[in-house]
Point group: C2
Chain length 346, copies 2
């Protein structure tokens, strides 16, 4: 895959938007009282992150109204019917919700690191991590209610985000349940990934369209764009977890294997007769050679290649759904973004 050719323009486009997203997040979730709570609430939110989901919100809105990408004010963004909306509040809402899920997931999965820093429950404690997630959860809905879009569009966005959060919980519950199940099918795994990860990409895209007044066909199409590329993103995440050094990942390499998590890769390997349980038992957080051997076994079974091929196919479907939009620089960037999600190195 020609990742270098793809990476440059989209990375620049995301970097431009990231700086503005970061600035808004810093204001939207500012330090406050109780001090501990707000430090915990801001800990992951201000520790970096690629801001891909909020960037999708911005890019979809740009594509719908065909503005010059990144040249507009996102605080007073034009709608299709001559109004204005604080689109950046919606983008921030999406990132804030994403942050909440990371904090609670890290408690449940007992992951110690996130975005290169200690997870919130490690840097503070579990109580504050639960509360920090809960605080961000509400902030997300508060931000969405404050976009200044026409009220019917806000209500649609709120309902969509709420339904999405329910699905994210369902996906996380499935993910946890898979840990203690002997068999998981490819279909079940993809269903889990759709709920746990992809629906928030889908909603990030759809909210951008809803708030600027796109019609139903466009909203549905960009939702599907987000859904398919979100699934591809997660599969690529599973690949990267095995193939990328810990320092680059910002968390422990092979953590899925160490936590005995089923992924599309292990499901495929099991189908090919690989003793995945033995692989699970062979790895721990310290022994890099054991991890290398585990990854080699999965490579030999073509399981990593299988996952990459699946991610490619999902991305093709996602990009196809963008044909509902007129050609525009922002639409091109959404295509590039979908490509980036499966070619990125971390």
């Amino acid at each position: 895959m020609p990742s270098d050719a793809h990476d440059a323009p989209i990375m620049e486009a995301i970097a431009e938007r990231r700086a503005r997203i970061d600035a808004r997040l810093s204001v939207a979730v500012s330090p406050g009282e109780p001090v501990d709570l707000y430090e915990a609430t801001r800990h992951i939110l201000t520790a970096g992150g690629k801001r891909l989901r909020p960037a999708v919100t911005l890019l979809v809105a740009e594509a719908v109204v065909d503005t010059e990408p990144a040249s507009v004010s996102y605080d007073a963004f034009p709608t299709v019917d001559g109004g204005q909306v604080d689109l950046m509040a919606a983008a921030a809402a999406i990132e804030v919700i994403q942050s909440f899920t990371l904090i609670h997931d890290d408690i449940m999965d007992d992951d110690a690191m996130r975005r290169g820093v200690a997870a919130v429950h490690e840097a503070f404690d579990t109580e504050l991590a639960i509360l920090a997630g809960d605080t961000l959860y509400a902030k997300g809905f508060e931000l969405l209610a404050q976009t200044g879009a026409s009220a019917d569009r806000v209500v649609e966005a709120v309902e969509l985000l709420a339904t999405t959060c329910v699905e994210i919980c369902e996906g996380q519950a499935m993910d946890i349940a898979f840990e203690t199940r002997p068999e998981v099918t490819t279909e079940e795994y993809l269903q889990m990934v759709e709920r746990k990860t992809a629906v928030l990409y889908a909603t990030a895209a759809a909210v951008g369209a809803v708030l600027v007044g796109a019609d139903r066909e466009v909203v549905d199409a960009v939702y599907e764009y987000g859904l398919e590329s979100g699934k591809a993103f997660q599969i690529q995440d599973d690949v990267l977890d095995l193939t990328t050094p810990s320092a680059v990942l910002g968390k422990r390499r092979g953590s899925d294997l160490i936590e005995q998590k089923e992924t599309l890769i292990t499901v495929h390997a099991r189908d090919r007769g690989v003793d995945v349980d033995a692989i699970f038992r062979s790895v721990d957080g310290e022994d890099e050679e054991a991890m290398d051997a585990a990854v080699q076994q999965l490579e030999a079974a073509d399981s990593i290649a299988f996952a990459a091929t699946k991610a490619r196919a999902l991305t093709d479907v996602a990009i196809d759904r963008l044909s509902v939009l007129d050609d525009s620089p922002a639409r091109s960037l959404l295509v590039e973004l979908a490509e980036y999600l499966i070619t990125r190195g971390y």
Copy 2:
């Protein structure tokens, strides 16, 4: 306080509404997949509860439009301007949010019992309890978005609920912080109670007014009604925690002392020179005589009476705020409800 005289009509009024609230909750949060997640999500929600907060939502709306209490369809409730709203969806939203806070609080406080059954993290596990709370959190906003009220009113209600949820988190963080602080003032304690408990009563009241189209003065006044009676409710809860047998409470009697939680009672006792830390050390979950002795010490310092007097004063303020409403059967019930909150025996 003539609690018998007060209890009868309001208890009947609440019971009527509770049956209808329960029916809606059972549909709004129905069994689903993953089965474990939805069982955990419904565990506390279907285990009883007095449904006081959603009853406030209904009663306020009844008082604003002056309908015959409990004779209307709450699914198609009249607004002041001739519209209709699914008021029961809003009432359910309030109870669902309340349930989410109980589930997460019980994890943080390591409380084993709730509403006479095992807390969710005990009946299931911490992971599912976090997720069950998170699921209800989203369901609350989803329900509010589905009331069918005019969109500007829904947006106002969503923003209010979101801001309230942030404050609830702040209150819970303060409550946790108090456990490890040597001195807590009465003012700080009341500030904590306002955020942790009272704002949801306030919002339950205000949402009922907002959705049926009450004007700003009424919305603000019923918010304050809920806020003051909510504080009184929590203080009465602190009193009951010491004075009511475990079987009646549905949780361990004296759990606040066992968990070394500061309440208005212990803050007052410290001011009076009582060695509250010694009281904390003297009690555990088993020894009823030690608990009796601890309670007697707090009674001897007039600390329990002080708390009851404070609750009475807050209730008077709350009832005074209802004068913004025309006289109606529902307004009378709101007065009775405020009285009930501080005269109830559990």
